[in-house]
């Protein structure tokens, strides 16, 4: 009897130990990411000739030269505006168009609704690379290359499948009684949709965030479809800065650019991460 108990205790001890080890591992992983971020931020305040000499030293200058260099090169005011316009516009348009579609696909019953959902989902699997060449040619036919309009339209298109897919998940999770209640009360289909929309709001906000994050990070389309400096998005701007800073070996300036870019992102993320994460999970697991 006793030995059995002891055995159990030993086993439990081992289990606890392995669990403790596992938790430690999670923390190491997380701290690694944070440390990398911290290093980049610190490095952005260092000098070029010392930054790699003593990796762990604290910044030895309090000049903001790096940041003003980076600011000039990044042309952040312009690139941010362009990103906001294309990403914001693309996201908003996507949502405006995908929401009614997702609603109709889940809530209206008609022949072919379910194949249609699959047809939209198919688009998630199409890599941008598989469409970029004709897209480019087609857009240039209608004078929409090198245009923020064209990029916005493209962003709208490439986000559509995932947005529709996510939102069909949300709409499907809404109770059908509400809709029926509205119908019995005599609401028109458009009215019913507008009654249902607020209910899907958390899902829409989340989908919008996910779409926006994806577009914010995109640079291939922006690189290929636009070329004017005045039309660079943040991603392309950073890539160009990356090039320039490497050619001039201005590493600290590069880190400063990254920091400038990340700061608003970090602030936004601490504010919105729950929304993004929850949105993703509702959409993807439904």
């Amino acid at each position: 009897m006793e030995s059995v108990l002891e055995l159990g205790a030993a086993k439990r001890g081992a289990r606890l130990a392995s669990k403790g080890f596992g938790r430690l591992f999670v923390w190491v992983w997380v701290l690694f990411s944070l440390a990398m971020l911290a290093w980049l931020i610190l490095a952005a305040f260092k000098r070029n000739n010392t930054v790699f000499r003593d990796l762990w030293a604290l910044p030895d200058s309090n000049e903001l030269q790096n940041f003003s260099d980076a600011w000039d090169l990044l042309n952040l005011a312009q690139t941010t505006l362009n990103s906001l316009l294309t990403v914001g516009g693309g996201t908003a348009l996507t949502m405006a168009v995908a929401a009614p579609a997702a609603y109709a696909l889940t809530r209206m019953r008609f022949r072919g609704a379910s194949p249609m959902v699959s047809f939209f989902a198919l688009g998630i699997g199409v890599p941008v690379h598989a469409i970029i060449i004709p897209l480019f040619v087609g857009l240039s036919e209608v004078n929409l290359t090198n245009s923020l309009w064209g990029l916005t339209l493209t962003y709208m298109g490439v986000s559509m499948p995932f947005a529709v897919f996510l939102m069909t998940g949300f709409f499907r999770s809404l109770p059908s009684e509400l809709e029926e209640a509205a119908v019995v009360e005599g609401a028109s289909p458009l009215r019913v949709f507008s009654v249902m929309l607020p209910l899907a709001r958390p899902g829409m906000v989340a989908s919008a965030l996910i779409v926006a994050v994806g577009l914010w990070n995109e640079f291939l389309l922006a690189l290929v479809l636009t070329y004017d400096e005045g039309k660079r998005t943040i991603g392309v701007g950073l890539l160009n800065t990356f090039g320039a800073m490497r050619y001039t070996s201005n590493w600290v300036g590069l880190f400063a650019s990254v920091v400038i870019m990340l700061t608003p992102l970090i602030i936004l993320y601490t504010w919105l991460s729950r929304r993004i994460i929850e949105g993703l999970t509702v959409g993807a697991t439904k």
Partner: protein, 481 residues
């Protein structure tokens, strides 16, 4: 499950935001166009002739095309359907990133050109992916008037396929502010390299070369002589401390320097290109190739290459080299300008022409950076005028003084760091294209070559295997064409 709070506002916000964004995008686009074509250039165009009339360079711009005989044909079509103010805009796509010294020099030239002529130069600092932007613009039917990039990719992407304007007539064009013509200051030997049917298509404004760079003081510290031959080079490298040969191995085309140079040393200019162009691939089995390959293997096995060279991400190795860790670095002649900001104090830049081999050939690489005028340009005449303007010795000297590059005009001084390079070019009995033109002529083949070359250079395969694979790759490549 369902959010209890007020659901209305944010939703409408989304739609309102959508509308606003649309409006903004529309407004933004409109404004861009306005500032590009209209407001900025028109007043200048009217002002320029009066205020700057005394300046010489005005002459050619006032009657574009009329004082040249040859370009009449190509300029006719664009002139007919062009708005007058569009004539005054020059679309220029440049390979430089904002912030690079060359960009700053060019920006200065552009500024003064705009001031002198009233032409509005709409320049795009596109970085090294400039051709991505060029193709975007060209296939969108958006005319590019001038492209500045490395000659080889220009040749491969545009010149060889007939997408550029012949620039023969430009040679007789006088350089504004000087009593010489373009043809008189740019050596024919440079222009001939990319000539099509006897007419140049690329006009260089920078001429680089490549070779092995070293810090003279460091060599002296080790009490070593400057090596001349390949054997001496390896010997010297082995005696020159740890990590003697610094190399950024992640850049495939830096790795290719060694073998390409060795092949040309053993086989002479054109021999690498010939091997690439041999449909049977058999030329790869010839003696000069084998000798070159074996020389490279000797270097790889000697241990002279810095630790981890195969995984060095540019510009790390050259940084270390400039910092005094390492003695040699094979690179383009731009290395001095690239490393100037972080080289160790008292660094004495010297260039070693690629070592000679016994019974081999001597020639120097002519690595041009130049301009092409696309066939589809709206204002080919204006583009050529800009080229002539920029080649003025005073203006071009910025490339030497500020950017520490060599220029094609020999009447402009040389930065001390580059005296060796100038001497090398002068002393060489012959010139050759970078990578003997293989990169430019056969871009796809070049990609295949670089991979096998990497394997050889990283010691992953031996000489025999490399030769066999190259012969096979070459014949396969041609079989597929």
């Amino acid at each position: 499950m369902i959010n209890k709070r007020d659901g209305r506002r944010p939703l409408w916000l989304i739609f309102v935001a959508a509308l606003l964004t649309l409006a903004l995008v529309a407004a933004g686009c409109g404004n861009d166009d306005d500032s590009d074509s209209g407001t900025a250039s028109v007043p200048e165009a009217t002002e320029a002739p009066t205020s700057d009339a005394m300046e010489e360079p005005m002459e050619p711009t006032e009657e574009p095309g009329d004082d040249m005989e040859e370009p009449m044909e190509p300029t006719e079509e664009p002139r007919d359907d062009m708005e007058p103010d569009e004539d005054n805009t020059l679309r220029y796509f440049s390979m430089w990133n904002e912030g690079e010294p060359q960009q700053e020099v060019l920006q200065g030239i552009i500024d003064s050109y705009e001031e002198d002529t009233g032409v509005d130069v709409d320049v795009l600092w596109a970085g090294r992916e400039v051709l991505t932007s060029v193709r975007a613009a060209l296939s969108a039917g958006d005319a590019v008037d001038l492209i500045g990039f490395e000659a080889e990719p220009l040749a491969g992407a545009l010149v060889n396929t007939g997408e550029t304007h012949p620039l023969g007539s430009l040679l007789d064009h006088e350089i504004p502010g000087e009593d010489v013509t373009v043809g008189e200051v740019i050596p024919e030997s440079f222009l001939d390299i990319y000539a099509v049917d006897g007419e140049p298509h690329i006009i260089p404004y920078i001429v680089n070369s490549s070779g092995i760079h070293y810090d003279a003081r460091r060599l002296a510290e080790f009490g070593l002589e400057r090596p001349e031959t390949w054997d001496e080079f390896i010997e010297t490298a082995l005696a020159a401390g740890d990590n003697a040969v610094q190399h950024d191995g992640l850049i495939n085309f830096y790795n290719a320097y060694w073998l390409y140079w060795l092949i040309l040393r053993h086989g002479g200019p054109g021999s690498f290109n010939a091997a690439a162009a041999d449909p049977t691939g058999d030329l790869w089995r010839s003696d000069y190739i084998r000798a070159a390959v074996e020389d490279l293997v000797e270097l790889v096995e000697s241990g002279a290459l810095a630790d981890g060279y195969e995984g060095s991400n540019w510009p790390i190795a050259q940084q270390e080299w400039a910092n005094g860790n390492g003695t040699f670095n094979i690179n383009g002649t731009w290395l001095a300008s690239e490393t100037a900001s972080y080289s160790s104090e008292g660094f004495e830049y010297r260039l070693l022409p690629f070592p000679t081999t016994e019974g081999g050939y001597e020639s120097a690489e002519v690595y041009q950076i130049g301009w092409v005028v696309p066939e589809a340009a709206d204002s080919p005449t204006a583009a050529q005028e800009f080229i002539a303007y920029a080649l003025n010795s005073e203006r071009l000297s910025g490339m030497v003084d500020v950017a520490k590059n060599l220029v094609p005009r020999s009447d402009i001084g040389v930065p001390p760091e580059l005296q060796d390079a100038v001497d090398m070019l002068a002393a060489s009995p012959a010139g050759h294209r970078p990578y003997d033109g293989v990169q430019g002529d056969y871009p796809e083949y070049w990609v295949e070559f670089m991979q096998l070359d990497d394997q050889l250079f990283f010691g992953q395969i031996g000489a025999d295997e490399f030769i066999d694979e190259m012969a096979e790759t070459t014949s396969n490549y041609w079989a597929n064409q």
